[in-house]
Subunit: 331 residues, 2 copies
């Protein structure tokens, strides 16, 4: 097998296509580093993608998302399917070597060639997490993984751009997740496709389930109400049922002709998210390197120039667009 | 007094400067509507701003932020200070006529000429909520309000750009805010300047306080640990003490020479946030109106063109910047 320095666009492409673990790992590292080779690679692979079932898993930290993903791997593997996991949750055990207990629980998966687990960081990545996650998903898709889990952290809206690429979104809560329940109730948090209330052994688990159920019952518009499953990720209780509900959502999408529509929408919103992130990065870099623009900020800070006038000047200077959104001639 | 159609840049400016309630209301409506007059007005007023103490109040929905703000108004008014409230929380009672109880509680404040309360929406606003909130704050600042509260909702990072303009950030939690506590613990949520644990009559309030306290104790780096105050907003218990802690944070900033530094940083990050929001709005509008760019998205959706190549084409077309962030000639 090729060593880490010997990968070319061709050998790496072939390695990814064959599902080779080292090729997948290398390709995702290149994505994290925004290496030009990653761009070429995904470009080559893209026409072959779209076969993976992408499952986004979100929820506040500490509810057991990683443990639940580990537990979900079992019923999926029993059905003969292969699995990829991309964690973009900095608080996830997948991202740390610290949690030995979880490591041990995950150990058999790490040895299973049908399972690929990877946590991602994107420090300084131009297109941000949305871009890196999308590219990594496409690599695992081309690598033949039947299911890819995307783990993100969040109790509100900020993780939206990452999770937006998923076919099915699972929200994980636990007893004590009062803030998330309130956020669902207030319409601040988007309604997911499936909900798991984890730590079902907790005395308040059923109360939480009923609370969430009554909130969902208020939504009279949508024709599908998200199923809620009580789970205990550590022991695996309820996990097989949870998988059935996740797979059931995919069946629902397919049989109602909604999967293509959702993927079209997802891809468009990903392209916007990535372009926006790049525009923001470009903006910050340009201002940092341009003494004239930095002087504008100084004037704002001395209350000599109002913030919106500074913004207008920056928009023209950096993006060459004026107040009405028209292009202007470059300086 | 001038009617709503008769305001000019001059009369509106004079009205705002004198703290006239109708002028303030009209000016903020113009901000919401992104009216060019609002831009001119804030530009005129900006050199006179910077006197207000801006207090950001954030926290999950349902913890009682609005009621707490109402309660805080009393000790502030007793000290002879004037107050503005800008709510950008769509789930806030300030934003709805629905919660009659809160309305009644607020009624005396609504009649007090030293108090100005306003909720804001920004549907379709080019620069987003960050821009509108900043402008509204500057108007109340020029209008002579000694204290301005900015109410936002959130349990994570998404409200950051709005709250970033505040001198002091208060996080409101309540018993059951387990997700927020976990988010603080995991470093997902930024440490605020002051914390209120509201609904102190709840049996679990003290447990929550101790939990938060032990998390904050883990932070050995910062030289100031945020005070945590138990409050009962409905009865006003602990509210005067909470105000002392908020004012105390301002004193801390001033006496350590940190206020100017924080405001410099805040203003710079606001300018970036507004410019980014405008860039994103420009991007979406341009793609929507450009058949060629829409065709690119179609190709992505048919898996003929990979997403990043589409992003590159869009960046050049919309912002005239290439992969390396260099400007290109306009088409």
């Amino acid at each position: 097998m090729a060593g880490r320095r010997e990968w070319t666009r061709e050998t790496l492409g072939a390695g990814v296509r064959s599902g080779d673990r080292r090729a997948l790992a290398r390709a995702i590292t290149l994505v994290e580093n925004a290496d030009p080779l990653a761009y070429d690679l995904v470009r080559d692979l893209y026409p072959e993608t779209g076969r993976t079932f992408a499952v986004g898993i979100t929820g506040p930290p500490g509810v057991g998302k990683s443990t639940l993903i580990s537990a979900l791997v079992r019923p999926i593997r029993e059905r003969g399917l292969t699995v990829g996991v991309i964690s973009v949750d900095p608080s996830s055990p997948f991202s740390h070597g610290a949690l030995l207990g979880d490591r041990i629980r995950l150990a058999d998966h790490f040895l299973d060639p049908g399972v690929f687990i990877r946590s991602m960081g994107t420090r300084g990545h131009l297109g941000g997490l949305a871009e890196a996650t999308l590219q990594a998903l496409l690599i695992l898709d081309a690598g033949g993984k039947d299911i890819v889990f995307l783990e993100t952290v969040g109790t509100g809206q900020s993780e939206v751009e990452i999770i937006d690429v998923a076919d099915t979104v699972l929200l994980v809560l636990m007893p004590g997740s009062g803030d998330s329940v309130q956020a669902l109730k207030a319409g601040i948090m988007e309604i997911p496709d499936v909900i798991a209330v984890n730590k079902k052994e907790h005395p308040a688990a059923k109360t939480m389930l009923n609370e969430v159920r009554s909130i969902l019952a208020l939504d009279l518009e949508s024709d599908r109400r998200p199923p809620i499953v009580l789970t205990e990720a550590v022991t695996g209780e309820g996990v097989s049922e949870l998988w059935d509900e996740i797979a059931g959502h995919r069946d629902y999408l397919v049989s109602n002709g909604l999967l293509d529509e959702r993927r079209r929408r997802n891809l468009a919103s990903e392209v916007f998210a990535v372009a926006s992130a790049r525009a923001k990065a470009h903006l910050e870099r340009t201002v940092a390197n341009d003494p004239e623009l930095r002087r504008l900020l100084d004037e704002v800070q001395r209350r000599e120039l109002d913030p919106l006038t500074a913004v207008r000047a920056i928009m023209i200077q950096v993006f060459r667009i004026d107040e009405d959104g028209n292009g202007t001639d470059p300086h």
